[in-house]
Subunit: 344 residues, 2 copies
DNA sequence: GTATATTACGTAATCGTTTACGTAACAAAA
DNA sequence: TTTTGTTACGTAAACGATTACGTAATATAC
């Protein structure tokens, strides 16, 4: 058992050559003789030499680590985004550090702080619902750590962004309900602050207007957590009105699943009496009864694209070149199931 | 815009003192005068001095980063484990790097490699199904990187382990079915290699034996992926036999959900004709129809405990003290719903 | 044969911080 | 007065690798 890890020095001494020569050999630099190089490689192999990455990171002031902050890990959409991020980062030689904000701004600050200690080369973040101030992120940028925002972005911040076309997704979902002959379409929206639910609301509104349907303000309900429970309660309140809707477009799948529960309890048929469509195509959506139609987001791809943009910015930063920010809008797609189509 | 980040040197020069004095002041070391210390703190504040963690990590040869390798992120159990890991690690001042093996041994190797480059201080791993060789992990240990295994562990490896009592959980689940008066209980098991499904099978067997029920070998079915699809197909085959079971204990929730689908399709009643119980209490289990009874695992707690043990080992390693490995067995609990209890 | 280029090294500096060690200045104890 | 101790610093070395620079030895050109 050797007392310390093998260093270049150990190899150099054993071969009677200088440390830089060993370095040059192992790094396949030009200024080194073939004979020496061979001997170095052999000895390095024999001694199980492993580079000390601490020293290299220190020298280059880079870690090859990407930080990722998302609101929750236990979440179908985000866990898929992370999955995409990790796979792509690995291909590019980067490791991924993860942090969840639990939808709390304070927690997000802590995450940034933790990451700064770990010297991340760049950050991918999906904002907490109550994050309005982005000083912590701009501070990172000033310290030459590029930031890419995914899905829940801040429109005023200058950075690359990956979003998906929530507007169009919502438009198509609503259009689909209209195509089924539905006239009184309700919408359960979210807190409207993360850009996402606001866009979904806008898309809904546009479709209603474009198809010359009546817009019923009392059929628009707002939830804060867009959870299953809220969806359930909100739908019950919708069904208690004088004139109930004949379709509901929910801003998230959990809300829609809550809505289904409420509708079934009231003895109404889905989709004959009320059709239901959600957003994000959670895994569980295919197994509820009836299976839920939804708007599918390219979660995995979004993660992948975020890494691409981030690494591009990391490289620009390293080379001291001017920064270019891009905003990528990814397309959604409709996944139609029985909650709108019925049983054939 | 300053050309470089502020260093101790900058502060030292501006105050006309030596670099070590600045270091001593900022680290609240004893050998430093109060007056000097005050001046240093003031200037550091004014210049927005930030420690260069690369240099510190390099000096101390530690990163305060924990590596985590799990088979899949998009998985209810594992994402909760990760969640527990991240929360606890943050409290202890550690960051978390994540990697998913996608249940592939080769991928696991890559993950370990990536992590070694990032100089993790310790590793928490849940093995891929086809990982039989643990040389890569023992190699880490030899390089003084402690390894803690969670849930899917290798019994021959010498390390701390966090598992949950799959045996007892399965025993209780089976006992519950028996208490409902079920006599012909089927079991859908997994690949039997990760210890987990094997233990579940053993627990099932013991309960059957203890309660003097007949053990029907043809009611034991094996799935490799323990997925919804497999659960569905396997159950169909069970229902095609001469004598069908009156209850099914599935090694995972997805399998159980597939089973429910098959049973419903055959026009049989749950739980009157066939009761169904799963394992792990996935979030989706509460929303299927009928809601699925399951064995709940303390996922979040397991992650938390893993971090505790790991950091203990990291500290022992740092102090060159002898290593102590612990195995923690966490208790499961039954979550009973309509798939076994019926509608009251 | 002299000038120039090329090859294959070694020396020294560097990255930012911490720590072991030495010491001047002063105070307290003998 | 001399000795011993304490305080508050400075100097130098160290962590491991890379890189700018210099140069001796050899090869090539004229």
């Amino acid at each position: 058992m050797s007392k310390h890890n093998i260093r270049l020095k150990d190899i150099a001494e054993e071969l009677g050559i200088s440390i830089p020569s060993v370095s040059r050999a192992l790094n396949n630099k030009p200024d080194i003789g073939e004979h020496t190089k061979k001997k170095v490689f052999e000895l390095a192999e024999k001694l199980h030499y492993q580079r000390n990455q601490f020293a290299i990171n220190f020298k280059n002031q880079e870690s090859f680590i990407i930080g990722v902050i998302i609101p929750q890990i236990v979440h179908h959409f985000f866990s898929n985004v992370i999955s995409g991020i990790i796979n792509e980062a690995e291909k590019m030689g980067y490791g991924v550090m993860l942090y969840q904000s639990n939808e709390s701004y304070e927690s997000e600050l802590k995450g940034v702080d933790t990451f700064q200690k770990s010297m991340i080369d760049g950050l991918i973040i999906s904002l907490a619902d109550n994050t309005f101030n982005v000083d912590h992120l701009e501070n990172l940028q000033e310290h030459k750590v590029p930031v890419v925002m995914v899905d829940k972005v801040n429109s005023s911040m200058v950075s690359s962004k990956i979003i998906c076309d929530d507007y169009k997704g919502a438009y198509y979902a609503t259009e689909h309900l209209i195509s089924l002959g539905k006239k009184r379409i309700a919408h359960i929206t979210g807190s409207l602050e993360p850009h996402t639910t606001k866009e979904r609301f806008k898309g809904f509104e546009s479709a209603i207007r474009d198809y010359k349907l009546t817009f019923y303000p009392n059929l628009i309900k707002k939830c804060n957590l867009v959870s299953r429970e809220e969806g359930y309660i909100t739908t019950l309140s919708l069904l208690a009105e004088n004139e109930i809707p004949d379709a509901i477009f929910c801003a998230t799948d959990p809300t829609a699943i809550g809505a289904i529960k409420a509708i079934k309890e009231k003895g109404l048929r889905i989709p004959e009496d009320i059709a239901v469509i959600g957003f994000s195509d959670w895994k569980m959506s295919s197994i509820v009864d009836p299976p839920l139609s939804s708007v599918s987001q390219p979660d995995f791809e979004m993660g992948k694209k975020a890494v691409e943009l981030l690494i591009k910015e990391i490289q620009l930063t390293r080379d001291n070149k001017p920064m270019k920010h891009e905003t990528h809008v990814m397309e959604t797609s409709l996944v139609l199931r029985e909650s709108t189509l019925g049983k054939n």
